[in-house]
C-alpha cells in the first residue's frame, strides 16, 4: 500500500535504498549528501536492513569498495557530492568499464574554489563522460522513484552499467516534501534480488580487471558505447513498469506545453518546476511557451529531443555549470550536436545560471522566456550565451 510521508530529498533516497535491500553501502559523508548515509546508517544500526555498511576514509575508497563489492554480485549503493565525486573520478571509470551496476546518489553541489556547499551541476558535469547512466530528479518524489528504478536499470543483464541519481543540493536534498512511498513488498516485487551475470566466486574463478592492451582495449570500450544504445529503451520500459504500480510513469524527458509552443526552455533538475510554473502563467496570458525537462542525461536522449523541439522557433537551454572557455554549457552543446543534422531546428540560446546555489527566481525565468520570444520574433540569436543572476 502506498502512503505519503514527509521526507527531505536525502531522506527519501535513503528510504528508497533501504527498501531496495541493498547488500553493501560504502560511503563517506559530505554536505549536502550526508543525510543519506546518516539515515541509512540508522537503518543498519536499528537492524532494519541486513546491509554491510563499510565506513571508509575517503570517497576514493568508498567507490573502490563499491566496485569490489559489486564484482561479488552484491547490490551496492553509495552517495556523494561535489569534491567527493571529484575524488572518486578515476574509480567511476573503473566501475562502468568493469560493468558494475552500482547505484549512486549525487547531491549536486558546486566545486571549490571558492569553497561553497550549495547547488550547481559542476560536480556531475565534470564526470559526465565516465560511462555511468545519469538521471536527474526534479524533487524528492522523483529522487525516491528514480532510486528504485535505477537498480532495475543498472542490474538488467542487458545493461550492467552503474547509475547516478542526481538531485539538487539543498533545494531537493534538504527540503521536506510529502513523498508517496510504496510498500517494501511492492518494491521487492518490482526489484527482485540481483542476479549477477559474472561474479567473483571461489568455486568458479574468473578474472576481473585484467590488463588489456592495444589489441583488446578498444573492443572493450566499444562494448560500452554499444550498450549505451540500449539504455534509453530500458529506462523507458522500467519507468513505465514503475508507473503501473504507482501511477507515476517516467520517460527520458518530460515536456510541458509543447503541443502549441513556439519557444521553450530546457533544463535539468529542480529548475524545471519553477520553469513550469512560470510557463503556465505566461501561457495563460497567451504566450506560446513550453518546458523540456531532461531526466536521462547520459546516454543523451537525442531522438526524443529531436522530436520534442520540432516546430519550435526558439529554444533556451539552461546550464547550471560554468564551462570556462567552452562554446556553450554541456547541456546546450549536447542539444546543438543532437540537432546538427536536422534541416529545421530552433534558434538556440544558452543561459548559464545558479552557480554556487544562486537562486533562480520566477522573475528570472520570465525574463528568459520573454528573451526567447524576442529571439523567435527577430529570427536570429544575438547573444549565444547569457549569464543570468550574476552581478557584472
Amino acid at each position: 500500500m502506498a502512503k505519503v510521508i514527509g521526507l527531505t530529498g536525502d531522506h527519501a533516497i535513503a528510504y528508497a535504498a533501504k527498501q531496495c535491500d541493498v547488500d553493501v553501502v560504502a560511503a563517506y559523508p559530505i554536505t549536502p549528501q550526508t543525510i543519506i548515509v546518516e539515515r541509512f546508517s540508522d537503518y543498519v544500526a536499528n537492524g532494519e536492513v541486513k546491509t554491510e555498511y563499510v565506513c571508509v576514509e575517503s570517497e576514493h575508497s568508498a567507490m573502490s569498495a563499491c566496485v569490489g563489492a559489486s564484482t561479488t554480485g552484491a547490490r551496492v549503493f553509495t552517495a556523494t557530492s561535489s569534491q567527493g565525486l571529484a575524488l572518486m573520478h578515476e574509480i567511476l571509470y573503473i566501475a562502468s568499464s568493469l560493468r558494475c551496476p552500482i547505484v549512486m546518489a549525487v547531491v549536486n553541489r558546486a566545486l571549490s574554489a571558492p569553497i561553497n556547499i550549495h547547488c550547481d551541476h559542476s560536480d556531475m558535469m565534470g564526470s559526465r563522460d565516465c560511462g555511468w547512466i545519469q538521471l536527474y530528479s526534479e524533487n524528492a518524489q522523483e529522487a525516491y522513484d528514480l532510486t528504485i528504478q535505477a537498480f532495475k536499470i543498472a542490474e538488467d543483464p542487458e545493461i550492467l552499467l552503474p547509475v547516478t541519481v542526481n538531485l539538487d543540493g539543498f533545494i531537493i536534498s534538504h527540503c521536506m516534501e510529502g513523498v508517496n512511498v510504496i510498500s517494501d513488498e511492492e518494491v521487492r516485487k518490482f526489484l527482485p534480488p540481483r542476479k549477477a551475470v559474472y561474479k567473483l566466486d571461489p568455486a568458479n574463478p574468473i578474472t576481473i580487471g585484467a590488463l588489456c592492451f592495444t589489441d583488446y582495449y578498444f573492443e572493450i570500450k566499444f562494448q560500452q558505447e554499444d550498450v549505451m544504445k540500449k539504455v534509453p529503451a530500458k529506462v523507458k520500459e522500467v519507468g513505465e513498469e514503475f508507473g503501473k504500480i504507482t501511477g507515476r510513469s517516467y520517460g527520458l524527458i518530460e515536456t510541458f506545453g509543447l503541443e502549441d509552443a513556439e519557444v521553450a526552455v530546457m533544463c535539468l533538475g529542480s529548475t524545471a518546476g519553477t520553469a513550469r510554473v512560470v510557463a503556465d502563467k505566461l501561457r495563460k496570458s497567451g504566450k506560446p511557451v513550453g518546458v523540456i525537462k531532461v531526466r536521462l542525461y547520459r546516454p543523451f536522449p537525442t531522438q526524443e529531443i529531436v522530436e520534442a523541439v520540432k516546430g519550435l522557433k526558439a529554444l533556451t537551454v539552461l546550464d547550471r555549470v560554468a564551462t570556462s572557455g567552452a562554446p556553450s554549457g554541456p547541456l546546450c552543446s549536447d542539444v546543438k550536436t543532437a540537432l546538427y543534422a536536422e534541416t529545421e531546428k530552433p534558434l538556440i540560446t544558452n543561459v548559464i545560471y545558479g552557480l554556487g546555489g544562486r537562486d533562480i527566481s520566477p522573475e528570472n525565468l520570465e525574463d528568459i522566456f520573454n528573451d526567447a520570444l524576442r529571439t523567435a520574433d527577430v529570427g536570429r540569436v544575438d547573444r549565444p550565451i547569457k549569464y543570468v543572476g550574476v552581478r557584472e
Binding site: 568499464s97 568493469l98 560493468r99 576481473i208 580487471g209 585484467a210 572493450i220 562494448q223 554499444d226
Partner: protein, 95 residues
C-alpha cells in the same frame, strides 16, 4: 594470432572479464619482444640463476642446462644480466 583472427567486441565477454581460469597460458607475451635472449649452450653451466630470475618463467630446465621458451619470453634481458658466465646475449629481433 593475427588481427583478423582476434575476437571483436560482440564476442568478447563484457568488461574485459576473463571467464575461465588459467587462460594466461594462451596469452603469448613473446609477441612483445624487441630483443631475443640467445643461449650459448657451451658456456651454460646449468646454475639455474636465470631460471630463478626470469619474471615470466620463460626459462625452462633442460638438464644439465636450460632452454628459453620464446612463446612467453618478453625480452627483458634480466637473464642475460644475471648469468654469471655471460652465456646469454640479447640480440635484436629481426637483426
Amino acid at each position: 594470432m593475427s588481427e583478423a583472427e582476434k575476437p571483436g567486441s560482440k564476442s568478447l565477454p563484457i568488461g574485459g572479464i576473463l571467464v575461465k581460469p588459467g587462460s594466461s597460458i594462451e596469452y603469448k607475451t613473446g609477441d612483445w619482444r624487441a630483443f631475443r635472449p640467445t643461449l650459448d649452450e657451451k658456456k651454460c653451466t646449468g646454475c639455474l640463476i636465470c631460471w630463478i630470475y626470469c619474471p615470466d618463467s620463460a626459462i625452462i630446465r633442460k638438464p644439465p642446462i636450460v632452454a628459453i621458451n620464446y612463446e612467453f619470453c618478453k625480452g627483458c634481458g634480466i637473464c642475460a644480466n644475471e648469468c654469471p658466465v655471460k652465456a646469454i646475449t640479447m640480440v635484436e629481433e629481426g637483426a
